[in-house]
Symmetry: C2
Subunit: 177 residues, 2 copies
DNA sequence: GGAGAATACATCGGTTACGAGGTATACGTG
DNA sequence: CACGTATACCTCGTAACCGATGTATTCTCC
């Protein structure tokens, strides 16, 4: 997820680590902090894998910067990760939002639509958080107000997302002729 | 988060690992899988920390079971984790839902309300995913349909949760006299 | 000119996650 | 009686996470 965000931001423009961190923090930082001790090792991993290159520049404000640029392989890898996300990236909202944040980098509307359809299929599965045996329980059946909250919130999210997904898929189908 | 779920389920009744896994999978498995290779080491950690005890029972269906029971310290620890969740547990929806799933185990309505108020404070902060400099961008200002989706979905979630939070806080205040 | 904040990068060590693989029993079906 | 599936637990190795800590520069404000 972190790696996807790094690749996603660098796809637009080269950045140095510090600025990259600001951007990732703006995207997901309020939900999940971005410790430098997670970011810098991740950058190293991607560099080692040949997905990005670094160039040292004299710092314009402070210490020297390492400007990070995606290699051609890195650009391919981002598109690959966006076109074929792991199942976790589809089901986990945190990860899914990261995919969505960069999905525009896939140039083919049909490829974009295919990804949205995977999320649609996931949301359309009858899944709950609480069961009576095999039968999913509805919010109204729960005595516990906190568990009722979970279902209420999840249902509102799901509804909004389904509406958006169907609308967006329709307009992608128009674009993709 | 996994540890919280283990403690939470065992708080109600002793369970063996396999059944515990089923329960956790029902709660969060559709979003995030629960590999056995994560669960069993987690059980061991909690056992080593003195939070739970295991008793071997002849398996009623197959191999022998390890029935897990919370110790008194384990029960205290669950209540402590519920009463004083880490900030991550408040901001990350996955973690937050796990807290909510077991919040009823806090017996004091005022303690429950205090936790909900932390979430309320987080949701009331003006936070976005996308910025123009320092100014948060609204969904309507985004050209990218996918990023617009993120904001649309997040806004729907936030609205539903705020309504639920305020209602629930009001009724907790009644209960808590 | 001293303090504090922001910029900029990095390592270390402990913890957690998890895919791949292994072991064994019991039950139903053909 | 072989095969598949469900039950039930486990280890190993690699990767990833992240708090604490360290280093150095520049800018602002008093």
């Amino acid at each position: 997820m972190l790696e996807l965000a790094i690749l996603g931001f660098l796809y637009d423009a080269p950045l140095h680590g510090y600025l990259l961190r600001k951007q990732i923090a703006a995207l997901t930082g309020h939900v999940r902090p971005v410790p430098e001790s997670t970011l810098y090792p991740a950058i190293k991993r991607l560099e080692k894998a040949g997905l990005l290159a670094r160039a040292t520049e004299p710092g314009s404000v402070a210490a020297p910067r390492h400007v990070l640029t995606l290699t051609e392989e890195g650009r391919r890898e981002l598109r690959r990760r966006l076109a074929e996300p792991a199942q976790r990236d589809i089901t986990d909202e945190n990860r899914w939002f990261t995919v969505l944040a960069f999905l525009r980098h896939l140039d083919d509307p049909r490829a974009q639509a295919a990804v949205l359809r995977r999320r649609l299929a996931f949301l359309e599965e009858p899944a709950s958080f609480f069961y009576d045996g095999d039968r999913p329980l509805r919010a109204e059946e729960l005595g516990d107000p906190f568990r009722r909250g979970i279902l209420t919130i999840a249902r509102a999210t799901s509804r909004a997302e389904l509406t958006w997904l169907r609308d967006t898929l329709a307009s992608l189908d128009d674009t993709g002729h």
